[in-house]
Symmetry: D2
Subunit: 260 residues, 4 copies
Amino acid sequence: MSAEYTPAAENDRIRVALLGASGKMGRRAVEAVTAAEDMELVAELTSTDPLERVLEAGATHVVDLTVPDASPDNVAFAVEHGLHTVVGTSGWVQQRRERLQAQLAQHPQVGVLIAPNFSVGSVLASAFAAKASRFFESVEVVELHHPAKLDAPSGTAVRTAEMIAASRAEAGVAPSPDATERDPDGARGAEVDGVRVHAVRLRGLEAHQEVLMGGPGEQLTVRHDAFDRGAYMPGVLLGLRRVAAHPGLTYGLDGYLDLD
Amino acid sequence: MSAEYTPAAENDRIRVALLGASGKMGRRAVEAVTAAEDMELVAELTSTDPLERVLEAGATHVVDLTVPDASPDNVAFAVEHGLHTVVGTSGWVQQRRERLQAQLAQHPQVGVLIAPNFSVGSVLASAFAAKASRFFESVEVVELHHPAKLDAPSGTAVRTAEMIAASRAEAGVAPSPDATERDPDGARGAEVDGVRVHAVRLRGLEAHQEVLMGGPGEQLTVRHDAFDRGAYMPGVLLGLRRVAAHPGLTYGLDGYLDLD
Amino acid sequence: MSAEYTPAAENDRIRVALLGASGKMGRRAVEAVTAAEDMELVAELTSTDPLERVLEAGATHVVDLTVPDASPDNVAFAVEHGLHTVVGTSGWVQQRRERLQAQLAQHPQVGVLIAPNFSVGSVLASAFAAKASRFFESVEVVELHHPAKLDAPSGTAVRTAEMIAASRAEAGVAPSPDATERDPDGARGAEVDGVRVHAVRLRGLEAHQEVLMGGPGEQLTVRHDAFDRGAYMPGVLLGLRRVAAHPGLTYGLDGYLDLD
Amino acid sequence: MSAEYTPAAENDRIRVALLGASGKMGRRAVEAVTAAEDMELVAELTSTDPLERVLEAGATHVVDLTVPDASPDNVAFAVEHGLHTVVGTSGWVQQRRERLQAQLAQHPQVGVLIAPNFSVGSVLASAFAAKASRFFESVEVVELHHPAKLDAPSGTAVRTAEMIAASRAEAGVAPSPDATERDPDGARGAEVDGVRVHAVRLRGLEAHQEVLMGGPGEQLTVRHDAFDRGAYMPGVLLGLRRVAAHPGLTYGLDGYLDLD
């Protein structure tokens, strides 16, 4: 708990200011924070509102769901005023994160969470897959998405494959066995760091991923389904509840999930 | 029931002669026929045994699980002697089937079943997928096999995709929607008659296939798992039980499954 | 095509009047019909609108998504005026259907479809399961729904189990083998006509069902997922497109799906 | 590495004596150890062989796959002679384990692993489920086995449910929501420490388990399939490779899997 944040009573609710309240994610977050019994939504800002409204409303926490151009200034403002901040905006490349860390060094009790993926289930699934894959001869990734998606494979699938490859390399596991001699049309899919990744596109789906691991006589499967944007809200709330206890910058929801 | 096959009593058991009894499939078939209460295994022949043993043993039905070079002569012999025959040997290309049909025209009450795939579940799965896929915007096929398999995708997956494509063409269904613009490593898999097919190879698996169909707000999945060669035996027994009631040549187990 | 329905040209669009347009299903149907290129939504009625508006708008087809108390009068009115009708309202017990059939006898060219389930995928899944289950020793049903559901198992699961049981009885298949001796807490689930049915309740789900069929060395699985109410719209549209070609009363979408 | 075990060279192979070599698991273990490049199978004992053969053969490690009556004496003998031991025999209740720990206190460099479940995948699956389930509103367990199983639910499912319940209790998570009012036939399955457990029995299956976790808009599924006894061998080999580095008694394979 930050010294800059001194609630009158232990049981006081988290006072949340939401930046980007009119976006798709923002509107969902408005609903989620409003419904959370341990939180109070004290300010909803859109791009035309002055940041001072956050202070006037007495917020203790900020959620930034804006755009890459606005996010760094928003977060700098929040940190400057001792407010714990949860960031779901993209574009936080390393250089930006380093600048933020320099600022946070001046505010040692403020916590900031920047999460490229707010789905608790998705983050857990990737972590489990990375951890388990070193115990199996074979591992492949299948991601399934709605047919309007422009990229294949998905960014999450690429990151998952990279995590799996790193875990297996660390443990000295050989590549997955594969005797394929003829595959004229590329049915075996993409290879990401030596891990096969398959991309399915299907009307009716949203965002789904399955990691299949196999050894002699057994299979372990870790599957995550995100049916709609609501999937990201538990991660936002979890971030708000834990950010004060994690001063400094945390990148990735993993750090809050007690995975190690 | 063939006139050439006149059992003493309605309840008599099917008297089976098994050709190719020492092969992998053959040994399984020996077990399966022996265990079937309505059948009697009266002869087990290997490649060195004379075909006359089939007649000496009083067989009424023959199962041919031999090799492509031997199978046509075996079947011709069986038909010549009025024995209903179930064939699991590969290599029965169209020309061979036509020659057999010519012979069967002389023996109008003899039934022969040649099945490229004896798994009842697999045949049902492909048929259902073909039938249903015309009602969904999207359809893709995922096949999963042991990592010693040489070809990708599997022959069954190719045939399933062809059946699906034909069904959708007949119904005038548009291709599955796909907005993919970037897929540098081929994660979207192979395309067979316009249907995406993905091939997974995983230690621990045998032969598995999943057809995914999707429309707005819904998904229909038909999955078949063959865990071991035992999966083909119910199809062999079903063939033996029904072949006498299907005089002439039947190609594919589908014809015995009341699918239409 | 009904003689009472004489379009000016072959390519004329289906002119749809929607009763119950303000309900949950109704609003979805408004969107779906509006988006269908071969249809025109000519009237949207709520409970306070007079039925004559259907005629004034020149509708050729009616969709009834109202309430059990209103539906019989709505359908009688539509039939009286020669309009083909698709009904998604519940409460059409046998007595009501018989009265409607009597009326339809006077209007031999009018088609009415009453469907207890408008999900094409769900109807196909149940039909496939019934057809396939007679070829497998074992069959069980697992239904999964959102946790606000009041009944277990679901009505669809009960009907599916009944269809499976009837199919197996017709084929003389023995009950699924089960050596269970100790099950103190009822983990084996419910028994519906001798078929085990399991009900899972999980936040995040909508309506899902899996039929598992197993034989020696193989498994066949038919799964349907309804992620949201959109799942029912393709069935409503399919009904509208085919109802004129099916004069008289059809009960259940199955009759339109060319399943036999 | 135990001081009592002084290999001539770092790269020496693990010298394994196998007790219970003629049982079902034992025969599999003979194959697995023989195939492992870093191991040498120096002795195979059945119930009539004197334990001294283990010493004569120069074993450094013992695998006990015998029967509950013989296992404690076997393990005591191995520990007495400074041999690291991996135990797959059942019946090691707490009292027996305490007696063994007392003996191990006298041999501080000897390692013993007793594992109720040698499937690495199954152990990982249960651990992941326990860890993840506290982040989801809902959790249920479905276990699927061959139809000759006498108990429902399976012991693994009971232990998994207990682990899940303990994890959720620790995190203060509310029970899974469930509005069921009518379930006359018990479709909702068993309740183990407040966690619903469903048991499916299906011909063709061996031992499978699925933990379903759900939150708003998302689902996380962890599934393990054991297709045959081969599934337990990687766990036995992993135990042999790591037991010398874990002096004292380890109960459960979890302790070797770097899960925390």
